[in-house]
């Protein structure tokens, strides 16, 4: 991850003219909307001023801060773990969906549906202490590579969103990640990559118990931080209604609607719309991952900021800045 940070800072110094805000964003409505909002709510003389302790900004992760195609990256983690653990589980040779994973038969894996995915998650994400799981995730994020992009997964974060996170924080916002992904899958690396402390990362949760001075991961789902779960996760972890929300799919809609319904303050909503089939992927209304349908209509009607990745972003990934 150090490597990534070096790339980032190198990139920034090449691209940005001194003091330029959001240097990887092309001039246009999206960039203007962001800057106008931040200026309005941080100017003490503005009617829209928000006191610092109420500047709560929530960001989805998959598809908003990093890519999510051709499958959620946590799914690739589970697949890699099944392969790594296969020698200890001879029964997987005949048991689905493990058999399909070991045979690289992704069609059958996907056909196994939610139940199959849950089996993979339970077999690979539980049965060890939290500290053991952290070490496994860190090792994977350092070494595993994306099947088509052939770079480390943590290199597939969005440079413009990293700049946006920094920009919000520089203006007194507290930034939170609110993801459908696993809270314990994100925390070991996301804290460093996004500059968000571990306690500001919220996600889906596996049950844990305290045993022998350790936290032990139990094969049971505790909480799904998706759709209507997102405002619920925000309630438990933050305890305040946000003023700004950033997402990319209908799974983020409830969180964005909840933010918009903040009666006390001017709010801001932004959807990252995946429109770039060359540099990233193009998908929305009919995608099996990151479907953006209802949210696209509602957001357009409500003047939410809809980022057109192809037009609005100079670069997608930090590594493009080296070129």
């Amino acid at each position: 991850m150090k490597k990534l940070l070096i790339v980032l800072s190198l990139g920034l110094s090449l691209f940005a003219t001194a003091g330029e805000l959001l240097p990887s964003w092309n001039e246009g409505k999206s960039k203007t909307n962001i800057i106008n909002y931040v200026k309005a709510v941080t100017d003490k003389k503005s009617a829209d001023f928000i006191v610092k302790q109420d500047r709560i900004a929530v960001f989805d992760n998959d598809g908003t801060l990093w890519s999510e195609q051709p499958a959620y990256f946590q799914f690739f983690f589970a697949v890699d773990r099944v392969k790594a653990l296969a020698s200890r589980h001879p029964e997987w040779k005949t048991e689905q969906p493990f058999k399909a994973v070991l045979e690289d038969d992704m069609k059958t894996v996907i056909a196994s549906g939610k139940e199959g995915l849950l089996k993979l998650i339970m077999a690979t994400h539980t049965g060890m202490s939290d500290e053991e799981f952290d070490a496994i995730v860190i090792e994977w994020i350092k070494t595993a590579k994306h099947p088509t992009k052939n770079v480390h997964y943590s290199e597939l974060v969005f440079q413009p969103m990293l700049e946006l996170l920094d920009y919000m924080r520089a203006n007194g916002f507290k930034t939170f990640i609110v993801s459908g992904g696993g809270i314990d899958f994100m925390r070991p690396w996301a804290s460093e990559v996004y500059g968000v402390p571990s306690n500001q990362i919220i996600g889906s949760e596996i049950e844990v118990k305290y045993e022998d001075k350790k936290i032990v991961r139990v094969p049971k789902v505790r909480f799904i931080d998706d759709k209507e779960g997102k405002p619920v996760g925000i309630h438990y972890h933050i305890g305040q209604r946000p003023v700004a929300a950033f997402g990319n799919s209908d799974g983020d809609f409830a969180m964005m609607e909840y933010t918009e319904a903040n009666k006390k303050y001017k709010t801001f909503q932004l959807y990252v719309h995946h429109t770039d089939d060359k540099r990233e992927w193009a998908y929305d209304r009919k995608s099996h991952i990151g479907q953006l349908d209802k949210g696209l209509d509602y957001g357009t009607e409500h003047n939410w900021t809809i980022v057109d990745m192809k037009k609005d972003w100079k670069v997608i990934y930090p590594f493009e800045m080296k070129k």
Copy 2:
């Protein structure tokens, strides 16, 4: 609460000589232990140095940051709410434990045990939005008074612990509250009184659901943040093993043991021992509230800091400093 803050700052300026650390603490082993620990782990040249992002300190609330006698203050809140809501619930005139509450028959209320207490909590803490509940708590904390001390409950916080919280933060520690009390009962006032942001307050949880753009409180317990629940709550909300833990009862033991078992860093544990039957209350091994038995033996053996409130603290409450 503004009044409280003024009292605090007045008090501090009267008591403290310039730059004196922890001015309400008498010189002695407890004060020395705290300062020696903080100096050791914040000195870059020390072998015990802890990087800033790992300086996680967890504090129990009831009995550690404020008083908890003759009953938990949240219990008095529930009692006051039952009385306020009684006219809408004629059935409470004959239904226990409500009948006993309305007749000020605390013996019968207490005899109703956990089940009775749960009934009181569900009837008074649920069935409204989170924002409505916040407003009720704020109104109560501003107006209600303690039955024997005759001051507002938020005036019964421990002045030496407020100084300790400030001292830890001034040295780069992130301070968290990890309480058996209700997370949503604490957040509306504790954030301001203790200087701890809402998202760093952890406690027991009622189920909530997202409905009609609001968080609605459902009459069901979701999580009890006590005993072995405290390390579990720390895992979900913080995601890091703390280095310093502060408590006052066996209910805090698991959290302190979990902290002590941090293999990476030098750790610190402190028990507030209630020894002052004049200024506060004296109780420990046999108390029905805040029992400190196992922890007192273990902590003494393990060189944990055991604060003798009577000897170690110049004042207990901020309002004593006006005298």
